[in-house]
């Protein structure tokens, strides 16, 4: 028993260590953003206070932030899962869209089912649709070798226009540029129904689902044979093949699971917030934001939760900063700087350099061999 506890302790340590680098990068980015705000002649303290107040100031604001965080966790997981298999699932955007429209269809078509069943069916329909959509890209990569980024981007456009087509035809709300609404039995339970604190927020149970999925993703990746194979393919497909692991099968599977998460994100947005799908003039952005979320979260499921929270705060607190007279672009700039710092692995590179120099000094002083 004790050894198991030790095992968990060590897992936790490893996770914290992995999170440390992006965390420092984020801090530096905020300092950089502060300098920027200052150079506009505004007070950075005021700006950041507004940012925090606007996103976490009270329960309702916190609830609204979590509404944004929910799909970001799932699309972030989607990207992270793909990365672990060496795949860049830029198609999460399209899988999100497909998940949304599929969920709306299921939420509308199966009216009359008991709520718990209907919700489960609706979420599964959306997630599976996303998974199927993604596995086309995975299949193309495995069988023909065409790159998942190119195909993913193309599939994003196909998904968007297909969704729009369905919205304007089969599922059209007559005379409107959006789809029919889902049945009440398909709607996710909202916190405002029971808690007064969340009265003015749309916070729904999707956040809980997304947290459970994050833990499930962590478990699949790190504690199962499937995850072992997927990560092996991601790290070194040659060694994986040598070890009897089918590279093609795992590429398709990893894409499908990745798409499952993105599709689920779309489904949750559809049945938790909008209750329908709008005619899209452009990408929803949730899938693409997932890339940034995953990157900052170090492609780690737990990291993704934290980084989704960060992006939620930035997105929801931004308008509050604007009220304080700080251009909303600053939020965008901070986001960009964070991604830049994290992507360049800036903090790690610097600390590694310092470490190397120190070690070098030590070994030179001692004059030791090896």
């Amino acid at each position: 028993m004790e050894s198991r506890i030790n095992e968990y302790k060590e897992d936790l340590k490893k996770i914290l260590k992995e999170i440390a680098y992006p965390l420092v990068a984020i801090l530096i980015s905020f300092v950089a953003g502060g300098i920027l705000v200052y150079s506009f002649g505004k007070d950075p303290i005021v700006a950041y206070t507004a940012l925090i107040k606007g996103s976490l100031g009270d329960w309702n604001k916190f609830g609204e932030t979590l509404v944004t965080v929910t799909p970001l966790i799932l699309t972030g997981l989607s990207i992270a899962f793909g990365f672990r298999c060496g795949l860049f699932n830029i198609g999460a955007e399209g899988q999100f869209t497909i998940g949304s429209i599929a969920a709306v269809w299921a939420g509308w078509a199966f009216a009359g089912l008991p709520a718990i069943l209907h919700i489960t069916l609706t979420l599964l329909t959306g997630a599976l649709a996303g998974g199927l959509w993604a596995s086309i890209v995975g299949w193309l990569k495995a069988k023909v070798g065409s790159h998942e980024v190119i195909n993913g981007i193309m599939m994003n456009y196909i998904a968007m226009y297909m969704s729009n087509f369905i919205v304007m035809t089969y599922l059209n709300e007559p005379g409107k540029a959006f789809s029919v609404a889902i049945a009440d039995t398909a709607k996710l339970w909202r916190f405002s129904q029971a808690f007064d604190q969340f009265k003015h927020s749309r916070l729904h149970t999707g956040i809980i689902i997304s947290l459970i999925v994050a833990i499930a993703a962590y478990y699949i990746l790190n504690k199962t044979v499937r995850g072992y194979e997927i990560r092996a393919v991601g790290f070194n497909p040659h060694a994986a093949e040598y070890g009897g692991i089918s590279v093609k099968k795992n590429i398709i599977l990893a894409m499908a699971i990745s798409g499952f998460f993105a599709g689920l994100a779309g489904a949750i947005m559809a049945i938790g917030v909008q209750y329908r799908v709008n005619f899209l003039l452009g990408f929803t952005g949730y899938g693409l934001d997932g890339i940034a979320v995953s990157l900052v979260g170090n492609n780690h499921p737990i990291g993704v939760i934290l980084s989704a929270l960060l992006f939620g705060i930035l997105q929801k607190g931004g308008p509050q900063m604007q009220i304080q007279g700080i251009p909303k672009e600053v939020v965008g700039i901070i986001q960009g700087v964070i991604i830049l710092f994290v992507a360049a692995n800036f903090v790690r590179v610097i600390t590694d350099q310092i470490k190397q120099k120190r070690e070098l000094k030590k070994s030179t002083v001692k004059g030791e061999v090896e």
Partner: protein, 506 residues
């Protein structure tokens, strides 16, 4: 007259390692000077410093008595230093002449003067008695020829001092002999040569002087004629070494692996294995000798399921395993120590524990419920680490943090502990130090003594001869002959490796 090269008190550190520590090296005009040492002893670092690829932390370099700071290879070249790397730096689709002039092309106005280039190459090739065909395309000529092109390249740039890094690794015994002649003739024309190697025999046959490097320090500098192989080995390793493999007579049983009429394509879709018949019996080590690139890789890949068999049959214990996926081949009882441990043998970013179940990761004993039990995996890994003497802080460190020898030990441990009926060992000791080599050899012999079949593929002829009970020679995708190890001599094998048949060899 001052020495052509004098390196004084050279020191160079990398994080965690002192690669060169107060090294002194003197090379006289017109001598062949061997730098002898195990992998990782610091020979290549020293030569890279001389060639300007690294900067030393301490020490000075004198060329013909003048102190020179060599900040980059161009400075080295301008002082007449030329380097032939272990892995050739040739443009494969270019002709010999184009490769030689690359970077110092003769021009005619705005364009390249190819005619002059060819003339130049012919001239220089005649002058140094290094015969090459200037119009031949590099990818079509033999490895030995390519090496000549590399040497000519340095001479074309006016090299007076040639550094050759492990030049014999890719050559047949006959080609090695030819290289010896070439080097002698270069020296006779006033060039000086530094040879990096860890092969003792070549030191004795090729050099005038030898400097032994161990763990970044110079152990000794000797005149070759005053020393012998045993003394060199001891100085190189730091203790007495047993250079022969001790094994009893083989107790051969029924064939375990049978290969019939096997044809395999390489990744360029050309036929690489052109009809191989082979039997490996229980209780024997069958060695495959051959120069790199004669179909050995493809043969192994076909047996292990990593490459498709075009035609022919592969039987294991009488069971057809032709074109089974790698997973099924592993489960039928094939262990495989792959040639390239970084590419195939290990997931470098996985921990040792995770690596020790690669290929076995489906086994029930590592399961717990629907997931993997990392506790059981770690216990298993600890067992392997202990039994196979893998030097590591613990089983949780990443495989990439281990030295090559310890990485290889882990692979050997994993593949042997699987208890395979056939073990394929491809270059099992490449890049290992003498201690690790002894260990791996011992384990392979143990496996054979347990009645298992061992298929050994190695480019090191000495290794094949020392370990094998029978030796098959592979040339151009075919087995040109199989000899009993007792009848095999280096000369016989060498002729066969170059495509001659067993009759010629006798």
């Amino acid at each position: 007259m001052p020495a052509v090269i004098e390196m004084k008190g050279i020191g160079k550190s990398f994080p965690g390692i002192r690669a060169n520590d107060n090294i002194n090296l003197t090379v006289e005009q017109g001598e062949i000077h061997v730098l002898l040492g195990e992998n990782g002893a610091g020979k290549s670092t020293l030569m890279n410093i001389l060639y300007g690829l690294y900067q030393p932390d301490e020490g000075e370099i004198f060329i013909k008595g003048k102190p020179i700071r060599i900040n980059n290879p161009n400075i080295a070249i301008s002082h007449g230093i030329g380097m032939v790397h272990q892995h050739f730096m040739l443009v494969q689709p270019f002709t010999v002449a184009e490769n030689i002039i690359l970077g110092q092309e003769p021009r005619k106005g705005m364009t390249l003067d190819l005619e002059k280039a060819i003339k130049d190459v012919e001239e220089i090739s005649k002058k140094y008695e290094l015969k090459v065909e200037p119009r031949a395309v590099v990818q079509d000529i033999s490895v030995g020829m390519q090496q000549r092109v590399e040497i000519l390249k340095t001479l074309y740039r006016g090299a007076e001092i040639l550094i050759l890094d492990e030049p014999t690794a890719v050559l047949t015994p006959q080609e090695i002999e030819e290289l010896g002649v070439i080097l002698k003739s270069l020296v006779n024309q006033g060039k000086s040569i530094i040879l990096i190697t860890h092969k003792l025999k070549e030191v004795m046959s090729m050099s005038d002087k030898v400097t032994i490097v161990r763990r970044g320090k110079v152990i000794d500098t000797l005149n070759t004629k005053d020393t012998n192989i045993d003394e060199l080995a001891e100085k190189m390793v730091g203790r007495k070494v047993n250079l022969t493999v001790e094994k009893s007579d083989a107790k051969v049983s029924a064939p375990i692996l049978e290969v019939k009429g096997l044809k395999v394509l390489d990744n360029r879709r050309l036929e690489a294995v052109k009809g191989v018949d082979l039997k490996v019996h229980g209780g024997e080590i069958l060695g495959i000798a051959g120069v790199d690139g004669n179909g050995q890789n493809e043969l192994i890949q076909a047996i292990t399921g990593l490459a498709r068999t075009e035609s022919g049959e592969i039987l294991l214990d009488g069971k057809d395993i032709t074109n089974l996926p790698p997973k099924d081949v592993i489960e039928s009882g094939v262990g495989h120590i792959p040639e390239d441990r970084h590419k195939r043998g290990l997931v470098l970013d996985y921990s040792l524990a995770e690596n020790s179940i690669l290929g076995n990761h489906h086994a029930k004993r590592f399961r717990q419920g629907i997931g993997l039990s990392y506790q059981k995996i770690r216990e298993y890994s600890k067992k392997l680490i202990k039994e196979y003497d893998v030097r590591t802080p613990n089983e949780k460190v990443l495989a990439k943090s281990l030295s090559g020898g310890n990485q290889q030990k882990l692979i050997v441990a994993r593949e042997i502990d699987r208890d395979p009926s056939l073990c394929i060992a491809a270059q099992p000791t490449r890049g290992l130090d003498v201690g690790a080599i002894e260990f791996v050899h011992k384990k392979l012999v143990e496996l054979r003594d347990q009645g298992k079949a061992v298929l050994l593929v190695s480019l090191e002829l000495d290794e094949v001869m020392a370990l094998s009970d029978r030796i098959a020679v592979m040339y151009d995708g075919r087995i040109v002959g199989i000899l009993d190890a007792k009848d095999a001599t280096e000369k016989k094998l060498g002729i066969m490796m170059a495509g001659g048949n067993a009759q010629d060899a006798k």
